[in-house]
Symmetry: C2
Subunit: 183 residues, 2 copies
DNA sequence: ATAATTATCTATCGATCACTAGAAAAATTT
DNA sequence: AAATTTTTCTAGTGATCGATAGATAATTAT
């Protein structure tokens, strides 16, 4: 996971992986099938351990605004955690790949769309509860906060600090067009 | 440029490039030196023709707010222009590469830092002119709008429409903490 | 303890990677 | 028109790519 996270799908070779894991290619292929299968498995593992956990923890917050704040603050911390590679493993992964790796590109893009839809769902709830005006376009607002997360990931990769990203998060939250009540 | 833009540095092979340009590898190497040299030249060409032009046109706007609006609207249009690959060629390029290609990663990251600093400079001017409160952190605000551009690029690659990105731009502009006067 | 199974190894596959020597062709100069 | 220079080609370099056949070692089952 560390290697794919740091160097991407195409930037990580089987030789890199087997050297890091301490065994030889046949073992890797017996265990995971192919490089592509392994990457898919790693992505699912990442989602389970990091992204999905972050989203689920955020969704426990009592208001849509608090959900966003929790998620963005957690992202700022996680994206700059020195114990993991910088940025998010899915938010800015597999953006450009060779033609033969388009299945990977589409897979990761599909996961990003799911992240987007998770935001949309929570924002729709916020509209029915009155936290957001009914005139608000949930999809547009979700696009905005998703873009922020993706931009934060790029900047983390470029070396931004936790505080840099927290400031970005705060500015994004200042654009919130609904109530900021906590209950 | 189209190939590197669409498939990235590692996703584009010399064979891809020579096939697209209609000649053979020795011609490419005589003309450009190496794949890395060619990529650097392509990036500079892109900056000249697209990114720098967009920034310079934006900076002709009469207020900092108008500069940002112009730049973000132009980005929304350009990132989804069907005549070019989706997204920005530098905003979301070379984020993950193999160890041997780290010079490329650093080069592109350096260019993104220059984009950031261009925003910082204009925001500092806005503080002296009173468009922005003197208490505003120019660097943080620049990080925010740069993140928006990078996020818009990711979403364009994922298939977002011009209108999707314009909505993101409008929400980002709604976070502007200064005067929105046009003069 | 022996047999069957599983896991991992060495060694290598053909394909492709970025790149280049030397010949042939095209353009330019005299 | 002949000589020179420049350009592009054919054909290939060694290295590395993802992936695998067959042998060996370790484990599990009987």
């Amino acid at each position: 996971m560390d290697l794919f996270w740091r160097h991407g799908y195409e930037g990580t070779s089987i030789a890199d992986l087997t050297a890091a894991m301490g065994f030889t290619p046949p073992t890797l292929y017996a265990a995971f099938g192919s490089k592509e299968d392994l990457y898919r498995e790693v992505i699912q593992f990442f989602l389970l351990r990091s992204e999905r956990r972050r989203m689920e923890a955020a969704l426990e917050q009592p208001s849509a605004y608090a959900v966003l704040r929790f998620y963005l603050y957690a992202a700022a911390e996680n994206f700059t955690d020195p114990q993991t590679p910088a940025g998010c493993m899915v938010a800015t992964a597999a953006l450009q790949c060779a033609t033969e790796n388009q299945p990977i590109v589409q897979e990761v893009a599909r996961i990003r769309q799911q992240m987007l839809l998770a935001f949309v769902e929570r924002l729709d709830v916020a509209k029915t509860s009155g936290e957001l005006p009914a005139t608000i376009d949930s999809l547009a607002l979700a696009h905005f906060y998703t873009a922020i997360v993706q931009g934060m990931s790029v900047q983390a990769i470029d070396g931004a600090s936790t505080n840099d990203l927290l400031a970005v998060a705060d500015l994004a939250l200042s654009a919130w067009p609904g109530t900021k009540d906590e209950g």
